[in-house]
C-alpha cells in the first residue's frame, strides 16, 4: 500500500523520497468526438508531464479541449469519443489498460475534483457514505475504520464540524463545504495524481481563496502531482508551477508560471492575459495597488515586502486618493437621482408554508444620472434582490424606493403606474441564453419593448431595431436570426440592445458577463462602457466580480448578508477600504501575477488572523 497520510502514520511528505520520473506523461494525446458520423477533434496532439508535488495548470477558454483531454486520462469521456496517443502514469500506459485495472487506478492512484460539487456529489447519499464507498473500495478495511478515516479526511479539509458533515447530504452543506467534501473524497486514497477540473469556478471569491489555500497546503502535505484545469488566470497565478495554454484543442504554449506571466510568447497567451480584468487596473491607466492599500488600511506589515517600500507604495495610493477626491469635489451631481433607496427592506413573499424571507434590510443608496454603481457581494448577499426590486419585480417591504422620481414601494407588481416607471428602466440579465425567447428572431426581441410601449411601429420600428443592432456592433442582417444561432457574447449584445431600446434613464445589469469567457467578457464590457458614455444612462451593475466593477463603476457598494456594509467612490473603496468585510473581499481576489499574488496571499492570511 502507498504511504498513508490519512492512515495516521505521521507522514507529512517531508520524508518522502525525492521525486524521480514524472508521475504523468502525456504523449501525442488526441481526443475526437463522433458527431453526425464525423470525428470532430477536441484535443490535438497534446504533450505534457507532471511531477510529484508539482501543479500544472491547463488554461483555456470554453471549447479549448482542456476538460475533454483531462477526462480522457481516466477514460471518463462519453462513449462517442475516441482517444489516441499515450498516457503514462508512473511509466504504465493508461489507455491500453484493461477495464478492471483502470478501475483500480481510478480513485486510488488518480482522483478527480469536479467543478460543480452540487451535481458532482450524489444528492441522495450522505457525504460520509460517499467517502466510505471510495475508501472501502480500494482498501480492505472494516466499516468502523473507514468511518474513522473519513472523519479524519473531513477534518483535514478543514470542515468546521466533521461529524455533522459526515452525516449531511450534499444539499445541506454550503458551496464551499461541498467542495471541501468533494476534495476529501478525492484524497481518500492518497492519489499520486489529482485532476482538478475548475475546482473553484462555482464558488464565491472568499470561498475560492479558502479552497485554493487548502489545495496549496495539501499539495505540500501529500506531495501529489496536480493537474489544474481552469480559465481563471488569478487562480493559475495563485497555484500553478507550470502552465499549458490551450486553444482550439492544441497546446499553444507551455512554460513555468513565471515565464508565462512575465514573458508570454504566443499571441493568444498575450491576448488572454490582456483580457483578464485586473482588480485595481480600472478603466484608465491609474493602477491601484490594492495590496498596499489594504496593508495601509489595516496597518499590516508583510514579510515578503520591505516595510519602507510598502509604506512608499501605500503613500502613493493614498496620495492619489486625495487627488481624485479633490477632483470629485468640483463635480457635484446637480440633477435629481434616478434611483433612490431609503431604508429599504425587500422580502421574498411567503409561499404556502414557506415564510417570507427578508433578503435586504436597511438599504440606502442613491444613483445619479449618468453614474455607474457597482453593487458587489457574494451569493446570498442580496445584490440581485435590489436589482430586481428596482425594476419592480419584487415588492418593497419597508422604506421607500424612488425610481426616476416615482416612489414604487407601494405599487403592486402588475399595476399600471409601475408599467409606466418600467419604461425608463432597462434590464440586462445574467444568462443570455435563457433570457431571450428562443422562438423569436432577435430583431423581434429587441423591438418588443418599443412595440409594447407604443413608441414605434412598422417601418419606424424596423429602423430603430437596425440602429440598436448598429449600436451593439452586430450586423443588421442578424435581426432575423434566432438566439441559438448566436454565440454567448453576441446573445448578450442582443440583451443589451433590448435593454437600451426604450432609451432608459436607468439600466439594471444583473451579472451580465458572468456566463461569458474572459476574452468575450472584455469585449462586452468595453461595448457597455462605450454605450454608457455615449448615451449617458445611469447603471446599477450587479456582480460578484470585483474586477468587473473596478473597470466600470464610478461608485461601489459592497453588500454582505442583506446589508450594505460599505459604499463610496471607486477610489475610496479600492484605495482605502474601511469595513473588514470589504477588506477581506478585496484580499481574496487572486491577482493574475504569481509574485504579486504571493504578497496578496500573505496579506490575506494576516487579515484573517486579526479578524478572527
Amino acid at each position: 500500500m502507498s504511504t498513508q497520510v490519512i492512515g495516521g502514520t505521521g507522514d507529512t511528505g517531508a520524508d518522502l523520497p525525492a521525486p524521480q520520473g514524472p508521475v504523468l506523461e502525456v504523449r501525442n494525446l488526441s481526443v475526437d468526438f463522433g458527431v453526425d458520423k464525423k470525428w470532430v477533434p477536441a484535443a490535438i496532439d497534446l504533450n505534457y508531464e507532471v511531477r510529484a508535488g508539482e501543479v500544472l495548470a491547463i488554461v483555456g477558454e470554453s471549447g479549448s479541449g482542456k476538460s475533454a483531454s483531462s477526462m480522457s486520462l481516466l477514460g471518463l469521456l462519453p462513449s462517442n469519443s475516441r482517444v489516441t496517443g499515450e498516457v503514462l502514469l508512473n511509466g504504465k500506459s493508461v489507455l491500453t489498460m484493461s477495464a478492471a485495472r483502470l478501475r483500480q487506478i481510478r480513485g486510488n492512484d488518480v482522483a478527480v475534483i469536479f467543478q460543480e460539487p452540487m451535481t458532482a456529489l450524489n444528492p441522495v447519499y450522505t457525504v460520509g457514505f460517499q467517502i466510505i464507498e471510495t475508501l472501502r473500495l480500494h482498501n480492505e478495511i472494516s466499516p468502523d475504520e473507514a468511518k474513522q478515516r473519513a472523519l479524519r479526511l473531513l477534518q483535514m479539509v478543514e470542515l468546521p464540524d466533521p461529524d455533522k458533515a459526515f452525516r449531511s447530504y450534499p444539499h445541506q452543506l454550503s458551496g464551499g463545504q461541498r467542495q471541501r467534501a468533494m476534495i476529501a473524497q478525492s484524497l481518500s486514497c492518497d492519489p499520486k495524481l489529482l485532476i482538478a477540473d475548475e475546482p473553484t469556478t462555482a464558488l464565491d471569491v472568499t470561498v475560492q481563496a479558502e479552497i485554493l489555500d487548502l489545495m496549496r497546503n495539501l499539495r505540500t502535505k501529500l506531495n501529489s502531482a496536480i493537474v489544474l484545469i481552469t480559465h481563471d488566470m488569478g487562480v493559475v497565478a495563485d497555484l500553478a508551477d507550470r502552465i499549458a495554454v490551450m486553444r482550439q484543442g492544441r497546446i499553444v504554449e507551455t512554460g513555468t508560471a513565471e515565464q508565462i506571466f512575465r514573458n508570454p510568447q504566443h499571441e493568444y497567451t498575450k491576448a488572454l492575459l490582456a483580457a483578464v480584468p485586473h482588480l485595481g487596473q480600472g478603466a484608465g491607466d491609474d493602477d491601484v495597488d490594492i495590496t498596499a492599500a489594504l496593508a495601509a488600511a489595516t496597518h499590516t506589515e508583510l514579510q515578503t515586502v520591505d516595510p519602507g517600500e510598502l509604506e512608499r507604495r501605500a503613500h502613493d495610493v493614498l496620495a492619489q486618493l486625495e487627488e481624485v477626491e479633490q477632483e470629485a469635489s468640483h463635480a457635484t451631481p446637480g440633477a435629481a437621482p434616478v434611483l433612490e433607496l431609503i431604508d429599504v427592506a425587500i422580502e421574498y413573499p411567503k409561499q404556502g408554508r414557506v415564510p417570507a424571507f427578508r433578503a435586504v434590510e436597511d438599504a440606502n443608496l442613491t444613483v445619479y444620472p449618468g453614474q455607474v454603481i457597482g453593487l458587489v457581494g457574494e451569493s446570498g448577499s442580496g445584490k440581485t434582490t435590489i436589482g430586481r426590486a428596482a425594476v419592480g419585480l419584487l415588492p418593497v417591504a419597508a422604506g421607500s424606493m424612488k425610481v426616476v422620481g416615482t416612489d414604487i414601494s407601494g405599487f403592486r407588481p402588475t399595476s399600471k403606474e409601475l408599467a409606466k416607471v418600467r419604461r425608463h428602466v432597462g434590464m440586462v440579465f445574467q444568462d443570455p441564453s435563457s433570457s431571450l425567447n428562443p422562438r423569436l428572431p432577435i430583431g423581434e426581441s429587441i423591438g418588443e419593448p418599443m412595440y409594447l410601449a407604443g413608441e414605434a411601429k412598422g417601418g419606424e420600428l424596423q429602423k430603430r431595431i437596425e440602429a440598436l443592432l448598429d449600436q451593439v456592433e452586430l450586423p443588421r442582417a442578424y435581426r432575423n436570426r434566432y438566439p441559438h444561432e448566436l454565440s454567448g457574447g453576441q446573445k448578450q449584445r442582443v440583451g443589451i440592445a433590448r435593454a437600451l431600446s426604450l432609451k432608459p434613464k436607468l439600466m439594471v445589469a444583473d451579472e451580465p458577463t458572468s456566463a461569458l469567457d474572459v476574452s468575450v467578457q472584455a469585449k462586452v464590457l468595453e461595448l457597455f462602457q462605450n454605450l454608457q458614455r455615449e448615451l449617458g444612462f445611469a447603471c446599477l451593475f450587479v456582480t460578484h466580480d470585483l474586477a468587473v466593477v473596478d473597470v466600470l463603476a464610478d461608485y461601489i457598494c459592497v453588500m454582505q448578508r442583506g446589508r450594505i456594509v460599505e459604499q463610496g467612490a471607486r477610489d475610496q473603496i479600492l484605495r482605502n477600504p474601511q469595513n473588514p468585510y470589504t477588506q477581506r473581499l478585496l484580499a481574496a481576489v487572486p491577482l493574475p501575477d504569481p509574485e504579486k499574488q504571493r504578497e496578496r496571499r500573505e496579506l490575506r492570511a494576516k487579515l484573517l488572523a486579526t479578524t478572527d
Binding site: 480513485g107 469536479f114 451535481t119 458532482a120 456529489l121 444528492p123 441522495v124 444539499h171 408554508r353
Partner: protein, 308 residues
Amino acid sequence: MVWYIVRRVLQLVPVFLGATLLVYFLVFSLPGDATAAICGERGCTPAVVAGLREQYNLDQPFWIQYLLYLKGVLTFDLGVNFSGRPIATIIAEVFPTTAKLAIMALVIEAVFGIVFGLIAGLRKGRLFDSSVLVVSLIVIAVPIFVLGFLMQFLIGVKLQWTNPTVSGDATVTELLLPAVVLGLVSFAYVLRLTRTSVIENVNADYVRTATAKGLSRRRVVVVHVLRNSLIPVVTFLGADLGALMGGAIVTEGIFNVNGVGNTLYRAVLNGDGPMVVSIVTFLILIFCLANLLVDLLYAWLDPRIRYA
C-alpha cells in the same frame, strides 16, 4: 414527520366528505326508481314498495338521505345492499381478492418495467431499446380488453397453461394471468418512465464522479444511477397502486374474478345506490392512503425532500 402524517390523514376528511357527497348525488340523480331494481321483472305491491322506500330512506329528501348515510358510516355501519346483505361483509369478502390481484400486478409491472427500462436506458438507441419501445407502444395503444381476451384465449384456452377463468378461491396461480394483463399497460409506462429517467441520470455529474472513484459499472448503475432514477417511477407506481386496488372492472370481468371491480360493476347495473357509494368511498380512502405511502417513500428515496 409525525405532524406531516397527521396533517395528511386529516386532509382525508374533506376528501372523504366531498367524494361521498358527489357520488351520493350522482347515484341519487340516476333515472328510474331504485325499488324497481329490487323487485325485478314481476314488480312489488305498493305496500312493499313503500316499505322498501322507508327501509332505504328513499322517501327522504336528498340531504337527509346523505346525512343519514354519513351517520351510518361514522358509526361503522355501512348498512345493507338491496339484496339485504351487509355491505361491510361484502367488501370484506371481495377486497382480499382484489388486493391480491393488485399487488401481484404491481410487483409484475414494477419488476419488469424497471429492469427492462433500466437496460433500455443504458443501451439507448440499440436494438434492445428500440424493440422494447415498439412493444411498449403496442401495449399502450391496444385496448386492455383486446389484450385480455387475447391472452385468455392463447394461454388459457389454446395452450391450457392455466385456467381461463378464476375460481372462487382465487389462488395465486389462478390470478397470475389476470395480474399480467392488469399490469401490462402500467408496465409499459413504468418501462418508458424508467428508461427516460435513466438516460437523464446516466450522464449526470455524480455518475461520472462515481466512475472516477473506481466503482464497477454494476455498482455505479445499481447504487448511483438506479436510486436517483426511481424517484419519478415510485410516484407513478404509487398512484397506480391506488388505481389497481380500485379493482379492474374490465380485467376482473374477463377472467371472472370475484373482486371489487366486478362487485361494483354489478351494483351499478342493479342501481344498488348504497352499495355503489360505499364501495367508491372505500376506494377513495384506499387511494388517498396509497398516495400518502408514496409521499413517504419519496422522502426516503430523495433526502432533499423533507416534510415538516
